[in-house]
């Protein structure tokens, strides 16, 4: 069984060149939970991530954190950002990528968080 790849052709409708300014066309839907399932975590009780001011998120039109986070930790639910901190890969991208610096970002306590087996 081929589990790593889906070899279906990607050259389909609306796909013309490799460079598409709108970006999202032709991207496969990915279940990130399945990916995170392969990664080992030692979750702490409390979150190491927090939104500083929920108002700022409400006014943040693009909400890029819903896209650039490689673990889809941030979700927009019922008018606010929720944080699934247990799956955080600690890359730090959201700290740099939130255009309003609205994420209070610290490391999990020493020894907690992601535990790479291979790295």
């Amino acid at each position: 069984m081929n589990t790593a790849v889906d070899t279906r052709s990607r050259t389909g409708e609306g796909v013309t060149t490799g460079y598409r300014p709108d970006g999202r066309t032709g991207l496969p839907a990915v279940d990130v939970q399945r990916k995170l399932f392969t990664t080992r975590f030692k979750a702490d009780k409390g979150s190491h991530l927090a939104i500083k001011d929920p108002e700022v998120c409400r006014d943040c039109e693009a909400k890029p954190c819903l896209y650039f986070c490689p673990a889809e930790v941030y979700k927009w639910e019922e008018g606010r950002i929720t944080i699934a901190f247990e799956g955080c890969l600690e890359c730090g991208t959201c700290r740099i990528g939130c255009p309003f610096g609205n994420i209070d970002w610290r490391y999990p306590r020493g020894g907690f968080g992601v535990q790479y087996k291979f790295g």
């Binding site: 589990t3 790849v5 052709s9 490799g18 999202r24």
Partner: protein
């Protein structure tokens, strides 16, 4: 009274471990603080480890270290939607001891390397987060604060080797938060495959290894690239691009990775493999212009924390190792003189300048900014060259003269002559 050391090293990656190793070997009392359960459990790299820099420190390390394969084959594939233009080299020279480079998995490698520093006499403390540097009223760095109870430690000098996510430097007022157009985020999977399959697929024998870098369609033209490296019984498959690009394009890194794995020329390389681990890490790609201060009263900054990465050459761990060694040498000299002031530690910058580290970083200082400003480098051109080549290689009874004209028309449709010349000039500037 908090305990006092000669030197505190923040972070056990290649930079910090090297510094601790070299300092302990000279008899200094050094503590190496790491937030992970073990050194390496938080670390990600492609990763190609170049031999020479570490061999200078531990001669023959490659005979005992946990390495994957020695690299004999390096390739660069320029991808369009459905094709790849390939360049590369396979050389018998790199198949001979002491070898040129190895593929590594950081969780194993860092743990081994840190153990060597401990053997030299360094004290390694894991599961401990350094929260900020301690400074006296004059601003001189005198120690660190950690997340442990009574977590303050003092030292004559602190070496900051915390990696790309520079929380300690920022919390200590030594640098501002990096901009999104100077930082890349990369995702990677380790995909297991039987040894024989890897060796057949990549035409390798024994512990020979191959590495491929992919440009163009692999990142949808965003500034970055994808890679596949061979390990003993797995492939490291990943890609990265600037955080500012992910912001703008609303592309998820893992969607891009999956799309890359499905590319018709890539899919056969990873087919049948089983994903074993998914990970993400930042890479500081701002280069020379984005570097923080490298030293000051009582502190020095090494490796990724100092922005020492040359992205176009996939170099980072080697600069981390060399800078860690040079920082240690500087501190050893400072200890002899009993002077840890910025004036004395300035010798670190001079040593870096005399080495390839700052020379190469200076040479490539325009690369990322230029590529960022010209989206067609990784957007339009990869698709253009592949279409031109396809046209040329398709034998269909059309006379060659007609084909040449068609290719030229196709190119000029995408980029007018003046733009082509401008791009060529800027590309030349970027690398020289």
């Amino acid at each position: 009274m908090p305990e006092k050391f000669d030197v505190i090293v923040v972070g056990a990656g290649p930079a910090g471990i090297t510094a601790a190793y070299c300092l302990a070997r000279e008899g200094l009392k050094v503590i190496l603080i790491e937030r992970g359960e073990q050194p390496g459990t938080k670390n990600v790299m492609g990763g190609v480890l170049y031999r020479q820099m570490l061999d200078e420190i531990i001669p023959g390390f490659w005979k005992q270290a946990p390495l994957e394969r020695h690299v004999i084959d390096q390739q660069w594939w320029v991808l369009s939607e459905d094709s790849a233009l390939k360049v590369g080299q396979r050389t018998a020279v790199h198949d001979r001891e002491p070898y040129n480079a190895f593929t590594v998995l950081r969780a194993k490698f860092d743990r081994w390397y840190a153990a060597q520093a401990v053997k030299q006499g360094a004290l390694l403390i894991t599961e401990t987060v350094v929260t900020r540097l301690l400074r006296d009223t004059s601003g001189r760095v005198i120690g660190v604060e950690t997340d442990r109870p009574d977590g303050q430690l003092l030292a004559n000098a602190v070496i900051v080797s915390e990696g790309a996510n520079t929380l300690v430097l920022e919390a200590s007022g030594l640098r501002a938060r990096p901009r999104a157009d100077t930082m890349a985020v990369a995702v990677k999977e380790v995909i297991s495959l039987p040894r024989e399959v890897i060796e057949n697929r990549f035409q390798l024998q024994g512990d020979q290894g191959a590495v491929i870098e992919f440009f163009g369609d692999s990142t949808l033209g965003m500034v970055g690239n994808a890679f596949i490296y061979t390990n003993r019984e797995s492939l490291s498959v990943g890609l990265g691009a600037m955080i500012s690009d992910f912001q703008r394009r609303r592309v998820r890194p893992h969607e891009l990775l999956e799309r890359f794995k499905q590319h018709p020329v890539v899919a056969p390389l990873v087919a049948g493999g089983e994903p074993k681990e998914y990970m993400a890490h930042m890479i500081p790609e701002g280069g020379y212009e984005a570097m923080p201060p490298l030293y000051g009263d009582g502190f020095l900054v090494c490796g990724d924390a100092a922005g020492m990465v040359i992205a176009v050459h996939r170099e980072g761990s080697n600069l981390a190792i060399t800078s860690g060694r040079l920082a240690a040498e500087t501190v050893v000299e400072a200890a002899r003189a009993g002077d840890f002031s910025a004036r004395r530690l300035a010798a670190y910058r001079e040593k870096l300048q005399a080495s390839y580290v700052l020379q190469d970083l200076r040479q490539y200082r325009h690369t990322t900014p230029v590529i960022e400003k010209i989206p067609q480098f990784l957007g339009v051109y990869p698709s253009l060259v592949n279409r031109a080549l396809q046209e040329f290689l398709t034998v269909d009874g059309v006379p060659k003269k007609v084909k040449e004209k068609k290719i030229l028309r196709m190119i000029l449709k995408e980029r007018p002559v003046t733009a082509l010349i401008g791009d060529a000039w800027r590309a030349w500037r970027a690398f020289i």
